[in-house]
Symmetry: C2
Subunit: 267 residues, 2 copies
């Protein structure tokens, strides 16, 4: 019986995986990955068998061949991890971002441990941190930003119900729900003029960053459509005193959209 290593791949670009994650990948016989993961990660484990469990229809395909599996996709993934670990020495379950944050690690760990299989979890950079790095805006600030909270709408229950307790709140979501998020933030007591930084494809060369307020958040919808998006609200979205090198304060203030070097190359 083998062992299962859950590895956080980071937010996207292959070089944001940890050195430990890359080294563990090199030991893998099998890698189970999601469709969103950067294909460039394969260089870390060129000889492993890579199985895409994120593609549409994965659970259906499993069901046809093995009717005993539960019908949900997550259950099919859980069963496949266990099945692979019975045959291989090292099975890597590669997850976007960090496995412990919005990664459904709970279900997969439970399934693997219930089968008596040894596990390891290797942490990764979660998307909120990559978005803050892209924006060059720390999530915590002196005096005004002493706590930060992460939330998502990507759950079975549906909508985000934001609170207003941490100084900075970060939301992981698709770009489609921005108008609704703005309304819910207002309802939770955030002032309309609160700064909001929206970053899509954080950590990639084609990341996009735009600045808004809660009152104007809906305007970000078109720019970030169809891209994984991180929304930073509150203290951590405020601009710093000094603008980035090469811009004046006036230019920085007037530039609502700050795309990376080649935003058009990967739309």
């Amino acid at each position: 019986m083998g062992r299962v290593i859950f590895i956080g791949a980071g937010p996207g670009a292959a070089d944001l995986i940890t050195v430990r994650g890359a080294q563990r990948l090199a030991q893998a016989d099998v890698v189970l990955f999601d469709a969103l993961t950067d294909p460039a990660l394969r260089v870390y484990a060129p000889k492993a068998r890579w199985i895409d469990v994120g593609k549409r229809g994965f659970a259906d395909a499993r069901r046809v061949g093995a009717p005993a599996y539960d019908s949900t996709k997550q259950d099919a993934i859980n069963a496949l991890i266990v099945e692979q670990a019975l045959d291989a020495d090292v099975v890597v379950r590669l997850k976007g971002g960090d496995p412990s944050i919005f990664g459904r690690l709970e279900e997969e760990l439970d399934a693997v441990r219930a089968a008596g299989i040894a596990c390891e979890v290797v942490p990764g950079v979660t998307a909120a941190l990559a978005a803050a790095a892209d924006m060059q805006r720390p999530l915590t600030r002196r005096g005004s930003g002493r706590s930060v909270a992460f939330a998502t709408a990507m759950s079975r229950e549906g909508a985000i119900v934001p609170t207003h307790s941490a100084d900075t709140e970060v939301f992981y979501m698709g770009g489609k729900q921005l108008a609704a998020l703005g309304r819910r933030l207002r309802a939770a007591g955030w002032p309309a003029e609160t700064p909001v930084g929206v970053v899509s494809r954080a950590g990639w060369p084609d990341q996009l960053h735009s600045d808004h307020t809660i009152g104007t958040l809906a305007q970000a919808t078109v720019l970030h459509a169809g891209r994984p998006t991180v929304i930073t609200v509150g203290a951590g979205a405020a601009t710093l005193d000094a603008p980035p090198a090469g811009t004046s304060s006036d230019v920085a203030a007037a530039t609502a959209v700050q795309p990376a070097a080649s935003p058009a190359s990967k739309p």
Copy 2:
């Protein structure tokens, strides 16, 4: 004039830096690091000049030689980064964890940008994620754990004022304040029986993990004394349904302390 790259080194062990961080380190002429950073990180930049800005007396030493500097340690660090970037092509400011979380990145970015120097920020694994990986307990859970908040007591203002809004709250702090944290969590409305996972030196081979409740949190003080500590409260601290391989449910429940393989080697 050079450029400054702020790099998150991860929570400690050198192999928890990102591949991108390690690659940028290899380009460094100068590395400014804090005393806490793993010396093994030097293998990524063996030819760079490494300057320890975390040691005691650093600010005082600067003041003697250069009386124009402000007297606080942070101001001395800010000034040194700028000074080095005027001489070197690539200056790396290496920070523990992720630079955007409790890293004082704001002050340093402001100083460097005000001097017209180009910057880059490379994200890292923050200690809360490494602690969750060590515990094999995801910070978010199906249904019960949809949001997670990070806070620290390491600020000029002093004490943590915890709230009770996120399903999981994680505190970065020294082990000395655990009794006070327990009392403040109770005052914020958390029930006494809420699970708490305490991890010190997260991500290192000698990490220590102990399980408590808010009501018994003070008992963790001696075990984690003198070690950087991450305290996970709420949904993310609850045990999973299945125990780790090699333990029975009874054993897992009875084992309050779960040290790593060789906890005694680095006390």
